[in-house]
């Protein structure tokens, strides 16, 4: 299931503005990789190039190579819709579909792509909600609106929705920034379980979170406003937080700037 991501010499542009320059990194399967760095350094942008979500923004395009187990995601004839079935995403704010029940939210990816088999849907919903540690809380009210849940539950619902389509990779863009500490803890525990089956990449502003949940940490920075963001350093999380090789990384981690 889980796949290896290789990024080589990635540049990302929004129209004429270059947001990211020369990023190369490797994400091993069944690991959690955290992207950290100050606002505007391009970490979310890089994350979004991993499933071509940046293309949703008019004028955005990427150069370089992003491959999933050796398959170029930007190769000719590659359908971004197909890429997103392999690489799922969880967003900053919980965004369950308001017109759908809890059940339908989780089943949405399968149902809307044509699965009609009730048994298969039921099994997927249960498996996904269990996988997102939400099953026990919602199993008696699957027909209630997804938006009736609390913020933390909604975010876990969104994770369930993402894993329901059995992706190889799950991208998380600051998944806890809109949640309280208890809900955050629940999501962090969940990330630890998800990496047994998936490759996880998470963007976070929370240093403790990065050190708690990730195996590898990538530090992004930009020299000045208006210049493109760059990958400064990537290494094992322990090394980054205890013995970073660059001064800039150390300054950021110890809170001296950013």
């Amino acid at each position: 299931m889980a796949k290896r991501i290789e990024v080589e010499d990635l540049d990302v542009y929004y129209g004429s503005f270059q947001a990211v320059a020369g990023v190369s990194l490797v994400v091993e399967p069944r690991t959690v990789t955290a992207f950290i760095g100050p606002s505007g350094c391009g970490k979310s942008t890089v994350l979004r190039t991993l499933n071509r979500m940046h293309e949703v923004i008019p004028g955005a395009y990427a150069k370089g190579r992003v491959s999933l187990d050796g398959v170029d995601l930007y190769g000719p004839g590659v359908d971004p819709v197909a890429v997103r079935r392999l690489v799922g995403m969880v967003f900053q704010r919980p965004n369950p579909f308001p017109s759908m029940s809890i059940y339908d939210n989780v089943a949405a990816g399968l149902k809307l792509n044509g699965t009609r088999n009730k048994q298969e849907l039921d099994e997927t919903v249960e498996r996904s909600l269990r996988g997102a540690n939400l099953w026990n809380e919602v199993k008696d009210r699957l027909n209630r609106a997804g938006t009736s849940l609390s913020g933390g539950q909604q975010q876990r619902l969104c994770i369930a929705r993402a894993i329901a389509v059995r992706p190889d990779v799950i991208l998380m863009d600051e998944p806890c920034s809109a949640l309280d500490p208890i809900s955050t803890l629940a999501i962090e525990d969940l990330i630890g379980e998800l990496k047994e089956q998936y490759t996880v990449v998470i963007v976070t502003h929370n240093m403790q979170q990065a050190s708690r949940v990730s195996d590898r940490t990538a530090f992004f920075n930009l020299e000045a406003q208006g210049l493109p963001g760059r990958l400064i350093e990537i290494n094992d999380t322990e090394t980054i937080f205890s013995n970073p090789s660059l001064k800039a990384t150390e300054d950021y981690i110890t809170g001296r700037f950013g």
Binding site: P98, L112, N113, A145, R161
Partner: protein, 296 residues
């Protein structure tokens, strides 16, 4: 300390007087605005109620009766108004909704979208008589067709289209982009995202706009006067050249003497039209409220 307590005491006489004058002005203005509406409503209900309370009002047309003879009803006009409204909606709603989807989901911010938006703005400003004469010129003068209920519907389409398109646009704009992104991230193609996520999310708002747009065109009179002849009999075929409608029923009886039965039928038709439009407005509210409950 003393300055603080100074500001806390009640205002001086002058300021109080100004307050009183403005207050009275505001109340009187509100009264002036409401009074004619209440007056119209009260007189229509008072004059029209007897007519619509007779059982035959809702079950019979005016075939075989005259303004001098009592009996008969407004069935022909009620059916006519509903039928013309329905045909109008069937043509206008798909075009308006799909147009709005094009503008918001596919062409947002492009020159094309601005051009279409501008055209819709102009269209929403044209008087109903101009729409009616345009259809008259097109269908009757140029193409040589006769007057018909469908022709009247087409003129009403021109009036309904911009209102429904605008309201649908507003509702689609209210759907957060995060929902579209969530759908894309599940590997849904764009059209499925629009059909299965965006439209259902905005559905109650779109439906409300459609109903309100329909209520608005149902009371339009100019296209009906120009494009379809008033009939006292019930005609069902939309291609018929004669069809009774509530606005033209009111118009046809405007010269009847006060003492005749035809006179009270005019009031009855006015009251019926108001009830119809009010019913649609209430329905729109109900739909809007049902949509809100689902959000919780």
């Amino acid at each position: 300390m003393s300055t603080t307590t100074g500001t806390l005491t009640s205002p001086r006489g002058g300021r109080r007087a100004v307050d009183l004058v403005v207050r009275v002005l505001v109340y009187v203005s509100a009264l002036i605005a409401i009074a004619p509406l209440v007056w119209i409503l009260v007189s229509i209900v008072a004059e029209g109620l007897p007519a619509i309370l007779s059982a035959s009002w809702w079950t019979q047309d005016l075939a075989g009766t005259t303004d001098r003879r009592a009996g008969g009803g407004a069935l022909h006009a009620i059916i006519g108004t509903l039928e013309i409204g329905l045909v109008t909606a069937v043509v206008a709603v798909p075009v308006a909704v799909m147009g709005a989807i094009f503008l918001i989901e596919y062409a947002r911010g492009t020159r094309w979208a601005r051009l279409v938006s501008f055209t819709v703005d102009i269209l929403s400003g044209i008087p109903s008589i101009v729409a009616a004469l345009f259809v008259y010129t097109l269908l009757i003068t140029l193409l040589g067709l006769g007057r018909s209920a469908v022709a009247a519907s087409l003129a009403l389409v021109l009036l309904m289209l911009p209102t429904v398109l605008r309201s649908t646009e507003e509702m689609l704009k209210l759907v957060p982009d995060s929902l579209r992104e969530a759908a894309y991230a599940l590997g849904l193609p764009k059209w499925k995202t629009v059909v299965q996520v965006v439209i259902p999310t905005a559905f109650s708002g779109i439906a409300t706009g459609v109903i309100l747009g329909l209520a608005r065109v149902m009371g339009e009179t100019a296209p009906l006067l120009i494009l379809v002849a008033y009939a006292r009999n019930l005609y069902l075929s939309p291609t018929t050249s004669n069809m009774g409608t509530l606005p033209t029923m009111i118009n046809s009886g405007r010269n009847v003497a006060e003492t005749l039965p035809g006179y009270s039928r005019v009031w009855g038709a006015a009251l019926t039209l108001i009830l119809l439009v009010m019913g649609l407005n209430l329905l729109a509210r109900g739909v809007a409220r049902a949509g809100r409950l689902k959000d919780r």
